[in-house]
Assembly symmetry: C4
Homo-oligomer: 232 residues x 4
């Protein structure tokens, strides 16, 4: 099947999702989000997904999976449907069901997952259910990840869910947190990383960078003994 | 209008402001000044301004705004005047009025704004009105950002102003601090970042790097319990 | 001899070991594993070894040593056998006998050595015989470096051996630790660095990155006063 | 004069000093040794010196100064002799007399100066006359910067001299420290940076990287409350 579907991932357009995903993964590799970065992009009723377990800075368009959208989650009795699978013996990212949360619950066009150490340290230094920070450069962050941007006077709240051994099993608790915190621009997973999304790949990437910046400065403030939320 | 004014931003000269601004933004992105970097460059009575909200490492010359100089600040009754606006639905950097401070009050030819975490941490660890450091490599910093360089025996003083929800609203307090500290080479904005300038883009960039180096080493000294100003 | 054996290291294939080793060394240089990185790759009964004492980011295929495999360790009465030596006055990596441990004891196809500061700090902050961490992103690490990947519920254990003045003299204690900890994916050397391996160069590189990520987050957790192993 | 002497700095050979110095400065810029890096290289009785005050990552061969060697230090009655000066209004690096120390006192072929923050922090956390460390990866460091490499069992000692407002005025105290510590591979300058040298540019660069690695790990050990010299 794969031979006949290569045209789904071969394009001269540098902004085609199958070209963008490898480029962004190289980009994130250079930012130090070394391991485990992944992404899913929804474009004209198709979802493009990075493979699992490849070296992210060496990913190629031919490694990309393509799935139809919408699509119900596979059950014990159904398989996931693909429009295209790579010829190599690759597996789609284990985050696939979690990207679906962003598409289904937020109308996102793109979802990014990283294991950034700033995100992980934030989940360790904020042992409760949320990461919170105020009076920092939060004005690039969008309400719910997709709507208007926050104001300097808002407090950023990012829910933290507990990790599970299998990434797929995070789907329900992530969805629950997204419903409980409809304004949240991302979901932290304790001792694991973060899921971020946006209306398109550019805004998803910007959201990922803005949130990572805030996790980093929040962790630095904790280490310096500073309060991260001001009551004014 | 924009179609007719593209020649204002299309040039084979790599040192043309419309080529330089995107290159410098890529440069700063790689230095880790990831989000929110912006710059305005004054060149032969024209001001070239980076757009707001684009991915700074992917900015192109056609994204650049061009304004005439001098130009009075727009009021409720007047609009800002442009020589050229990008065709895309972009907005000029919210820092535009603050760049004008550097042009008007210091005769600067270039002004750079970053959200560097070293700058932000400096404003948190120096809770007063100024960041001060002495007996460090301050000799690259220029008096007022544009005149002779400091000596190793001088003490560097950078005013810190309080942030406001809208970047434009910083204009008056920034101007006030620039007048109160005429020798200051930059203005820190608490919990936000820094504005730095120079007689031309090369010197503005060098000033930005020198000050960032000093914010970084100052923060490290604070963490190590060391005094940053020596009384000799 | 060398002139006749250049074909052993000259190939148009970017994945040929003699092209890969220099590329990976540049890669590691950029990741900040600046000094002392080395690697040995076993491919079709030949071992390709980086030279010692060259600038790792400027290494060329013609600098690579080629040795037959299997080969007994040289003794006072025998010399090491080479299929190819560089014409320059270079010496093979002092780690050569240690790479052999990975080939002989783990059937590894590739072994990487770094002086990463995260690895060195881990050996200083874990003064005992092992580095241990749990409930982190350890699921990229393979049992014994070559078999199935670990689960989030496993505890990662990396033995730490004591350093010796000559790298060759680590061979026996490294082999002993590999036998005592058959599941270990790497061996830390106190105040020195780490040895990591995998079934092929891609997986060895991934193992090196995963372990380095865990040394880094482990060191950060120690500094923050957090336990790195949870008893659940 | 300069027009006639351009052939001194124009060469197709990437290893010509006038090509190497700009390349190394770009390299050091990317390593984060951002500001104030400089270098002098002695090659066939000529010294090639980087200019002062240019953006180090944008330096070009035509910016390089060429001086004859040997040459006595200029006095109030003599000027420095140049074989070639850049046409631009540039000044030779203020470190020029200090590079001469390495050439005259150590027979070095290359000398590198950086303002690395690891070096500066080392001079702040070691308030005495020397930086010392043992039982770390010091075996890349050469005795006196130019002779045999140290052993893991040696203790590295790097003298620290006090800074002066003018870089030239460090010449005598640097020479004095080099004579008092003939085995030292570099000289730290308190609150300023480090001078490192080697028999040729490749070894000088390696010495600079090895020492910087040791300053960095030494500073981390101090922060972690660990002794940096072991008495065994």
């Amino acid at each position: 099947m794969a031979e006949n579907t290569d045209q789904l991932v071969l394009s001269d357009d540098p902004l085609h999702p199958a070209n963008l995903i490898p480029e962004l993964c190289r980009n994130f590799y250079q930012l130090g989000w070394v391991t485990g970065t992944g992404g899913g992009h929804l474009h004209t009723r198709r979802v493009y997904i990075a493979p699992s377990g490849v070296q992210k800075e060496r990913m190629l368009p031919i490694h990309i999976f393509v799935l139809p959208y919408p699509q119900a989650e596979p059950s014990p009795h159904t398989d996931r449907v693909f429009l295209r699978r790579p010829t190599q013996n690759l597996k789609e990212s284990a985050c696939t069901p979690l990207f679906w949360n962003a598409f289904d619950l937020r109308d996102a066009g793109s979802c990014i997952h990283t294991h950034s150490q700033h995100a992980v340290m934030a989940t360790l230094l904020w042992p409760g259910a949320t990461f919170t920070i105020s009076h920092q450069m939060i004005k690039g962050v969008r309400v719910g990840g997709v709507a208007r941007t926050l104001s300097y006077l808002d407090t950023l709240v990012v829910p933290i869910i507990e990790n599970t051994p299998n990434e797929e099993d995070l789907k329900d608790s992530m969805a629950e947190a997204m419903k409980k915190y409809p304004d949240a621009a991302g979901i932290l997973v304790r001792r694991h990383g973060v899921y971020v999304w946006g209306p398109d790949w550019e805004k998803a990437k910007t959201q990922a960078e803005c949130l990572d910046y805030l996790f980093e400065i929040g962790v630095k403030m904790k280490h310096a003994g500073l309060e991260t939320v001001l009551n004014t």
